[in-house]
Amino acid sequence: MINRRQLLAAAGIAGVGVSAAACSAGGAKPAASGAKPTATGELKGSLNLITPEFAGTEGKADLEDGILKKFTQKNPGVTFQVDYVPWDKLNEKLSTQIAGGTPSDLMMMGMGWTAPFAQKKVFAPLDESVLGDAKVPKLLLDNAKYNGKLYAVPLLLESRPFIYRKDLLGKIGIADPNRKTVDEFTQMLKEIKTKTGKVPLDMLASSLRQVWGQMTFAFGGTQFSDDGMKCYFNSDQAVKALEWMVMLQKEGLSDVNQRVATGQPGSYQKGENLLGWQSSSVWPTFSKQSPELIKDENLGMVLCPTADGSKKILYQGGTLVGLSTRSKSPDAALAVMQYMLSNDALVAASKSTGKVPANSNIAKGTDLGGNKILDFCQQNLDASVTDGGTPAWMEIRGKMDPIVEGAVLGTKTVKQAIDELQKMAEESIARVK
């Protein structure tokens, strides 16, 4: 059964292929070794920017009258046409734009989207000098690469630490839920379950694809080879990660069935769990709807432990920006990319969107809007992990959730789910070879 998103994606992929072939016919051609920002000469050009962020009157003002205006004040020859598109329709918009041969000069998109667009030659390769002084975590930078070349710049992140109820955990004698290994973390969850009778962790109610992605890293694995053409869904680490998720569900340590519709208060917010795998963007919602949850005495945050205890990890979704191979003003576009990764622009963007700046150069204590989850994530960017990393990701990611959910809910065994995931991914990758 094919859904309408997959139908459009298939049509889009076909269109993107046609467009990619046509790309050689027009537009500027950034150097094959990677486009570099040039400091000399006055920048000129009209730039189209497509973004899923900064929606609404306030967001538009923050971007166009704030962030971009500072750039145009220094570069009056550059003008912007900004196209605001909601996240759930961004793929459709990009696909049609690309198929029509009119991609925006600068395209903002999600984590894991880089390789598919780079492989279709929609994005131009970038020289790493575009990063300027910004310090972007290596794993996020790797996610923005394809075949070893940088094709996009991570800007804003939606980080997922574990947050916890200090007050409730304190009552059962757990002052700090920080644990060195996954096993110790699991033991603590069992202890909470025994003492309170509650489902301790709000995690499986999130996207299971993302949970599995994070836990694969936690068990020491990765999802794809460096070139993105081999899939490791059936690796020992990925199997252990899925088995851990199944165990959580079976033992009642986390529950898929606590899932709610987008925008509805989740089980952590409703006080049904003591820990939650939550995004930094829940802060505005909590502050309006459940302000007691974000008081210092009630809110704590920890990173996810790994199986061997060697490090901690932090799952990142996020927003990156890529440069179109058809941009008629690549120099101006590159200068904008570099500017948007600067501390000033990122801090302003972070305050506007509530997302974490993907630049660990931003000093501790910088005002990012008072979001403490965001501040915590900003200080732990070095622990970043994320999923994706193959040109076939746009097709694969949409098919993962139901298969993983089947395993977690016990409608299929872990082996069946892993085999199905591996087969599906290999077939998808074969189609983009």
Binding site: P52, K89, K93, S95, A99, Q289
Partner: protein, 322 residues
């Protein structure tokens, strides 16, 4: 339902027609009481059924309005009350301030109104031709139109986009459709693809089929031209159909979301449904503002339906679709 004062009795479900009742009744007083009781029971059952169905239909709309005026704290409650404890009508103002809805509403209205005019004009003329004019290709064209209705929009959105993008001599394009952006980010892309739909042609054809051909023949004998027969003689016979198509065309234009999003980039060309997406962010939905905006955007359609509901329902019944 009061049927007693009507000149012609109207039967409701469960009622027995007078002539049928005569044949089976044992005695007049018993029969009368029994029929009255049966009629009463049928009506009560009918009213209960209709009330229940109405409640099911109205509840989502009521919930939408109540959500629009709830406080953030109430929105987060596990079991919020059906009626809000406090009514925050300022949510409507906040929703309107969150995006330039006056521009979006204007654009949606222009698209809806223009689709009403063009769909009635082209749909009625094509429907009339397929129903009443004899030519060999008519069944094939009709079958082709029906076939196009079976292809989902998502399957043709990219070809449609390419047609708009490479439209010759528009938006800087040369005669071969190259060099510019065609209809993209222009009113042409918003208006032209929705000028007529296969469904409206199909619906109006069904209406034209039911009109008497004798009228057309008489008009021809009287010397009327074919366009005048269509415009002055036959089309006035299918007013319920025209109103149905007009309402559906307006609704299609007013509620259109994906196509306007894909073909526009300028805020001045964005429509109301795209504006509502402002309240749905990646991991955060502002339900109070979203529902306030949705309530406001649904109002025109509700008002139009209330005014024209009789014709609208008749339109579907008479076309044989219902």
């Amino acid at each position: 339902m009061a049927t007693d004062n009507l000149e012609f009795p109207v039967l409701v479900p469960g009622e027995v027609a007078a002539d049928t009742a005569h044949a089976a009744a044992p005695s007049a007083p018993v029969r009368g009481r029994s029929q009255k009781r049966q009629r009463l029971v049928s009506r009560v059952v009918l009213w209960i059924l209709l009330a229940a169905v109405s409640l099911v239909m109205v509840t989502p709309f009521a919930w939408m309005v109540f959500t629009a005026v709830r406080s953030p704290v109430e929105l987060a409650e596990v079991n919020p009350p059906f009626f809000p404890r406090t009514w925050h009508f300022e949510n409507f103002v906040r929703a309107l301030q969150a995006a330039p809805f006056h521009i979006y509403a204007r654009n949606s209205f222009i698209i809806g109104a223009s689709q009403v005019v063009t769909t009635m004009l082209f749909g009625a003329s094509a429907g009339y031709a397929l129903a009443k004019l004899r030519f060999r290709a008519a069944p094939w064209i009709f079958a082709w139109l029906l076939a196009t209705m079976m292809i989902p929009f998502y399957a043709i959105v990219i070809p449609d986009f390419l047609l708009a993008r490479f439209m010759p001599l528009f938006g800087g394009n040369d005669i071969f459709g190259q060099g510019g952006q065609g209809w993209i980010d222009s009113w042409w892309a918003l208006l032209v693809p929705g000028m007529v739909s296969a469904f409206s042609i199909f619906l109006l054809r069904q209406f034209y089929v039911t009109t008497p051909t004798e009228l057309i023949e008489a008009a021809r004998i009287d010397g009327l031209s074919e366009p005048r027969i269509w415009a002055q003689i036959i089309t006035p016979q299918i007013k319920p159909g025209l109103l149905t198509v007009a309402l559906l065309a307006f609704e299609g234009g007013w509620n259109n979301f994906l196509w306007p999003l894909l073909v526009t980039t300028s805020e001045n060309l964005r429509v109301i449904q795209v504006g509502l997406s402002v309240f749905r962010q990646e991991s955060n939905t502002q339900w109070d503002l979203l529902m306030a905006g949705t309530t406001l955007s649904a109002l025109p359609m509700i008002v139009l339906f209330v005014i024209f509901q009789r014709y609208f329902v008749n339109g579907f019944v008479n076309s044989g679709i219902k």
